[in-house]
């Protein structure tokens, strides 16, 4: 039997899925143990028990000065920035994707511009963003929007162009206007694509969020990580990293569930 046709059974598949996780955890524990045996106060790789204690403290105990549980405040602030940023990006991606995909005049005018725009590294033009949008919430949200919108527009406009020409022609023969074709033919077909594209751009969105928070902020997940880095509090950093990973995973899970629930016809590829 060829290798490409051999499939693992359910128990083996589960086992294989767990192996890399176990390997990483074991590697961490071995490394942490080695360093701690040399220097019990080592901060670089704290013992898993230390991380658990720190996590318990961060999730439940308030700050000494203000009494607020900072982790929840950080999370709320960061998720709000991420939500608004990704929301604006998704909406403009959808609108411009439809326009560029359907209207040849708009395509002629904007497709090239968007393609070039998507190559601009957003982090390199940060000082300009600061001057234009200030140092507050706006510049952080704008960084996320600028970072992922060009990708969304390019992806969605291509999806619209990929819609079989026959469907458009058929709708035309039934008397549909451009607006009706956009709303009834193209829009439903690219909605699941939009969700998929948003899922793919969540990684970069987190990256831009954390970068923005690292530069000028007084609250947020990225802010906290860069702040405690100043005294190498890896137990705090690792707790935040695990928490961000979990949040990102859950957001991804929800989007996938939403996509399957709303657009079951779009297939298993989502």
């Amino acid at each position: 039997m060829r290798l490409i046709n051999r499939k693992p059974g359910r128990p083996l598949a589960l086992f294989l899925m767990l192996v890399p996780f176990v390997a990483v955890i074991v590697a961490y524990m071995v490394g942490s143990d080695m360093r701690l045996s040399v220097n019990p106060a080592d901060k670089l790789l704290p013992a898993p028990s230390t991380i658990a204690d720190t996590a318990a403290r961060l999730f439940t105990e308030g700050d000494r000065r203000t009494g607020r549980v900072l982790l929840w405040y950080d999370t709320a602030v960061s998720l709000r920035r991420l939500g608004i940023g990704v929301g604006i990006a998704a909406l403009s991606g959808l609108v411009f994707g439809l326009l560029i995909g359907l209207l040849p005049h708009v395509r002629a005018g904007l497709a090239g511009f968007v393609a070039v725009l998507s190559m601009v590294p957003p982090l390199a033009i940060l000082p300009i963003l600061f001057i234009v949008f200030g140092l507050g919430e706006t510049s952080k949200i704008v960084l996320i929007v600028i970072g992922i919108t060009p990708f969304l527009i390019r992806d969605l406009s291509q999806r619209v162009i990929d819609i079989p020409r026959e469907q458009i022609v058929k709708a035309e023969t039934l008397g549909a206007s451009s607006l009706v074709i956009a709303l009834r033919v193209a829009l439903p077909q690219i909605m699941p694509r939009l969700i998929q594209a948003v899922r793919l751009s969540l990684g970069p969105a987190w990256l831009f969020l954390i970068a923005a928070e690292a530069i000028a902020s007084d609250l947020g997940l990225g802010y906290r990580i860069f702040l405690v880095r100043r005294y190498l509090a890896m137990d705090v950093i690792l707790t935040y990293v695990l928490w961000i990973t979990l949040l990102a995973f859950l957001i991804d899970l929800v989007l996938r569930w939403l996509s399957r629930r709303l657009y079951p016809w779009a297939g298993a590829g989502l």
């Binding site: 080695m34 901060k43 600061f130 140092l135």
Partner: protein, 352 residues
């Protein structure tokens, strides 16, 4: 199968973590990290000019001086064990390596900031006018310490401000140009750039607290104890360059100026707000003074107040600091930071 996976992972971990904390043993190869700052530019010149190699050869060892672009990262790397020495301030060394259990010794006390760190207000006013305003700075850095000392001197505290906003030093100048920013605390060369802007008003600087922000070459205590030649080579090379700088050697100063991204005039201006210890005897006298003890107690109190000494720290006295006269501030059972004038004294005596 699981066993072999664990074994492989273990081996991988062991290889990945070859940068284990330095263990005391005799060796001949040493690595020292430094980052760009007016008082540390000689380290780059030492390496490039071959003076370091000359001194290392004299003692039969090999010293590599590595420039790290990110100051905090260089300290973190040292703390993790990737380097035998690092250039850092007294405050950051107390919080990161010493607070992290890495026993660290001050080998060369190079200079203290005498105006290089400053509180800058946009527009007219004084330090007391900061009340109710947001202040942009690199949180938990010496800037933060300077602000705390300044506010203390006019009877204010951080609670009287409209918060401090952590702002990356790399973006400080761009940040200052925005309307949101009313006050910043930062260091040179950023201070001189910002003061060129119209309306920038310096209300407090490190010349008001002379000798409290100290720039030092730190080395791992155990490595130094096992390898005195390492300390001798570094100290010897350093004071050779100090001699050149004190004599106003244009070639050396120009090389340092260019490496720090400015010109000779700009570098000299920065040196003016830096109290360099060109003469090792001055460094020895400064390190032996009682004022240093008071400074370290102040710094420890600041770090504890901000929670920087870590959760395991029950009080500001958590980390012990030893001084040349044998006295100790903080916990005598947990001495992790040592001021030692042995090698600087050797340089002063011409015994290197």
């Amino acid at each position: 199968m699981l066993k072999s996976v664990i074994l492989t992972a273990g081996v991988a971990a062991a290889t990945a973590l070859s940068a284990l904390p330095a263990i005391a043993q005799e060796k001949t190869e040493f690595r020292v990290a430094w980052s760009i700052y007016v008082g540390w530019m000689p380290w780059g010149y030492l390496e490039d000019s071959g003076i370091m190699d000359k001194w290392a050869e004299k003692y039969g060892i090999d010293v590599e001086i590595v420039q790290i672009n990110d100051y905090i990262e260089s300290i973190n790397q040292y703390t993790a064990g990737a380097f035998d020495g690092v250039s850092a301030t007294n405050m950051d060394t107390l919080s990161i390596p010493a607070g992290g259990g890495v026993d660290t010794t001050a080998l060369i006390v190079g200079d203290y900031s005498n105006g290089n760190d400053a509180v800058i207000l946009k527009g007219e006013g004084g330090l007391a006018d900061l009340a109710g305003k947001p202040v942009h700075l690199v949180e938990l850095s010496v800037s933060h310490y300077l602000l705390a000392r300044g506010l203390d001197s006019v009877g204010l505290s951080e609670a009287d401000l409209d918060g401090v906003i952590n702002t990356s030093d790399a973006d400080m100048i761009a940040a200052y140009a925005t309307d949101d920013v009313q006050a910043v605390v930062t260091w040179n060369p950023l201070v001189s750039s910002i003061l060129e802007e119209p309306g920038a008003n310096k209300v407090y600087d490190s010349a008001d607290i002379p000798g409290e922000i100290i720039d030092i070459m730190w080395v791992n205590t155990e490595v130094l104890a096992a390898n005195p030649d390492f300390g001798k080579a570094l100290t010897g090379a350093w004071y050779e360059v100090m001699g050149l700088m004190a004599a106003g050697d244009e070639a050396a100063l120009t090389a340092m100026a260019e490496a720090s991204g400015t010109d000779l005039a700009g570098y000299k201006a920065q040196l003016e707000s830096t109290e360099m210890f060109y003469d090792p005897a001055d460094a020895v006298a400064f390190t032996s003074s009682d004022a240093l003890k008071e400074t370290m107690v102040n710094v420890a109190a600041f770090l504890f107040d901000k929670g920087i000494l870590g959760e395991g720290a029950p009080s500001p006295d958590f980390v012990g600091v030893a001084y040349p006269d044998g006295s100790i501030t903080g916990d005598p059972a947990n001495v992790k930071l040592r001021y030692d004038t042995t090698y600087m004294q050797m340089a002063a005596d011409g015994a290197l």
